[in-house]
């Protein structure tokens, strides 16, 4: 009783066009999308060359040329991607977008609530420190989700004079964690008054953790981040870990939502224009109490995290086992 073309009348072909392909988050997103497509018998072709914006635009045209039934655009620059997206829609190919504003009335926007992500993490920080903290900050400008989390930080600082930003670093040079760790180490030496760290991206967070470990300061500074992965969990539950809390959405779930959304669109069903995925806060204590060691267990213990009830339909199977 699935609507056409999901009633077996043809093999649906979806293109997923990505800006970033490397990194834990991106990998989990991919896995979620793949899994969902598998369950629905959809052919999913992934296009992506890491951080090559013009290639990403090209891929949209390549997908159009291949005659796909729908396109998911995952991250990217508004200016670069809006024209290709509009061109695809003009050719009658529906488009949904994750974390990039394509400025088109017919594009459904999927986004994790980055603002809230920042807020949740900072809320944990303020609770732990009673709104009095000297904060070190890791940030690189110009990356949309980071910019949104940055806005949250600016607001929190404004509202809470006790929260002071002491120093700011950040780099996207690889190896990520090591390069960030070098910077953070220097900052910690120069600013011994820092007693908390806000690094709203887990790759940055790992750099901070590494710096604290190498400086023997794990008991002096706590770290607040965003995003979660198995490795993050391992680092958080380690004895004496300074990683206090992280706010996260489930990237695999977002991947699945993206596929479901485009499927519903292809089937011609109703879909809200904006689909936001709310994050959850995980503190070190929560994880330890629940005895969680990896993402699989995390999903089992916190079902709300796993099942993002977005873009659902009776004819769409969902992943009950929670593989990711």
């Amino acid at each position: 009783d699935a609507p056409a073309p999901f009633d077996g009348s043809k093999k649906v072909h979806i293109a997923m066009i990505r800006q970033m392909v490397e990194g834990e988050f991106m990998q989990m997103y991919q896995a979620g999308a793949d899994r969902q497509a598998d369950l629905m018998g959809i052919k999913l072709t992934t296009f992506g060359k890491n951080m090559d914006n013009q290639a990403q635009a090209n891929f949209v045209y390549q997908a159009i040329n291949m005659g796909v039934d729908g396109i998911i655009i995952d991250h990217g620059l508004t200016e670069t991607m809006k024209k290709p997206a509009a061109d695809a829609i003009a050719k009658g190919i529906p488009v949904v977008a994750f974390d990039v504003d394509l400025q088109h009335p017919e594009v459904n926007q999927i986004a994790q609530d980055d603002h809230m992500l920042g807020e949740l993490s900072l809320k944990a920080l303020m609770e732990d420190y009673n709104s009095q903290a000297n904060v070190g900050y890791v940030y690189v400008a110009g990356i949309l989700p980071l910019d949104k989390r940055h806005v949250a930080f600016e607001k929190v600082k404004e509202a809470n004079p006790g929260i002071k930003e002491i120093a700011r670093t950040g780099t996207l040079e690889s190896p990520f964690s090591v390069k960030n760790a070098e910077q953070v180490k220097a900052v910690l030496r120069a600013n011994p008054e820092i007693n908390a760290y806000f690094a709203p991206f887990d790759e940055f967070g790992k750099g901070v953790i590494m710096a604290l470990e190498e400086n023997n300061m794990t008991d002096k500074v706590k770290v607040y981040t965003a995003d979660i992965s198995t490795q993050d969990i391992q680092l958080m539950i380690k004895d004496g870990s300074p990683w206090a809390a992280t706010a996260a959405t489930n990237p695999a779930a977002i991947g699945a939502v993206s596929v479901r959304a485009i499927a519903k669109k292809i089937a011609g069903e109703e879909l809200p224009k904006d689909i936001t995925i709310p994050p959850m806060l995980f503190t070190q204590q929560m994880l330890k109490d629940a005895g969680v060691k990896n993402m699989k267990q995390l999903r089992a213990k916190f079902p709300k995290f796993n099942h993002v009830e977005r873009a659902m339909a009776p004819w769409i199977p969902v992943d009950k086992k929670g593989l990711f």
């Binding site: 392909v21 999913l44 072709t45 992934t46 296009f47 992506g48 060359k49 890491n50 951080m51 090559d52 914006n53 013009q54 290639a55 635009a57 090209n58 891929f59 045209y61 390549q62 159009i64 040329n65 291949m66 005659g67 620059l77 508004t78 200016e79 670069t80 024209k83 690189v140 400008a141 110009g142 996207l172």
Partner: protein, 326 residues
């Protein structure tokens, strides 16, 4: 036997190229569509253009490692000029080209006058520019509405004409950057193969001292090679900015290696075993075609690097090992 060898050296690469073209099309008929072929060309324009600049420096037996960051610089500057300083598209274009040529001039002077080895000098300017380009915008991407240090919003916009450079289509079909790449390819080809300047460039690459002793102004030519390389790289950057529509900080990253890769694959085309414009363009297109075809076949991204490397090594091993036997 002799004949087979020399035929293989000359046409081996082209044959492999045609074979993969046929293979991809059979596996995925959409590959052969006109539109897709233009997509392939469009996909390689930026680094294909940079590779043409690299070719100049390779011909004079040098190498310009700063092309990637020169292009990135150009992306940021074009955006800054239009978005923050609200200059016109044409003014932004010209200024970027001038900056590119100046970077090339600095490279050339460091190499020719101060006699710093080419790799060292251009690696230095590469880092330098990579940092420099981010300073005006404080490390942030530049787009309309971005916050300026004084709290205002930047109100300038990429002009229509400028965007046309990167996003336009001639006859509603051929993307403008493709036209630029092919035109530039032809110009570089003609200059290198059929003018006396080209002859002198090659002579300098072969034996600079001999070229000096037949009256060539070797220093001037070598500086010129770097200026051209910088100029071409900045033009590539302008096209990239026009395609992306925004001054994105992450622009330059992969460009250098892809451009150098294309120019080097060019060594294997028609068994040239030396840098040449035709080979450079063919090399760039070949890599683009592979990536396009493999993506269509849904090969994960990391296979693409692997295959790019395997092709480069295989093409070179083939050409050079056969040439050695002769």
């Amino acid at each position: 036997m002799e004949k087979i060898t020399s035929f293989s050296i000359k046409y081996g690469f082209i044959i492999v190229m045609i074979a993969s073209f046929v293979g991809f099309g059979l596996a995925e008929p959409a590959f052969w569509g006109w539109h897709n072929l233009f997509s392939i060309l469009l996909g390689v324009t930026i680094y294909g253009i940079l590779a043409l600049g690299v070719t100049f420096t390779l011909v004079t037996d040098g190498l310009d490692l700063s092309v990637g960051s020169t292009a990135a610089m150009s992306v940021m500057m074009a955006s800054y000029f239009m978005v923050v300083m609200e200059m016109s598209g044409i003014a932004a274009l010209v200024t970027c080209l001038i900056i590119g040529a100046l970077i090339g001039l600095v490279n050339g002077l460091l190499i020719v006058k101060i006699k710093i080895p080419d790799l060292l000098a251009t690696l230095g300017t590469m880092f330098l520019i990579q940092g420099l380009q981010l300073i005006p915008s404080g490390g942030r991407s530049i787009g309309t509405g971005m916050m300026l240090p004084n709290g205002d919003e930047a109100m300038g916009e990429f002009t229509e004409g400028f965007l046309y450079l990167g996003q336009g289509r001639v006859f509603d079909m051929i993307p403008t950057p493709v036209i630029f790449m092919l035109a530039l390819g032809i110009v570089v080809y003609v200059v290198l193969e059929h003018t006396r300047w080209g002859r002198v460039f090659y002579a300098i690459g072969g034996n600079a001292e001999a070229a000096r002793l037949v009256g060539a102004n070797v220093d001037r030519y070598r500086i010129m090679a770097y200026v051209l390389s910088g100029l071409i790289a900045s033009f590539g950057g302008v096209l990239l900015a026009a395609r992306v529509g925004r001054g994105d900080v992450s622009s330059g990253a992969g460009l250098l290696l892809d451009a150098v890769g294309a120019a080097l694959i060019g060594f294997a085309v028609l068994g040239a075993r030396k840098p040449n414009a035709f080979g450079t363009i063919v090399g760039a297109i070949f890599v683009g075609m592979l990536l396009n075809g493999l993506t269509m076949l849904n090969l994960p991204y990391f296979w693409q690097d692997f295959i790019k490397g395997a092709v480069l090594v295989a093409a070179l091993a083939f050409t050079f090992s056969l040439a050695k036997q002769r």
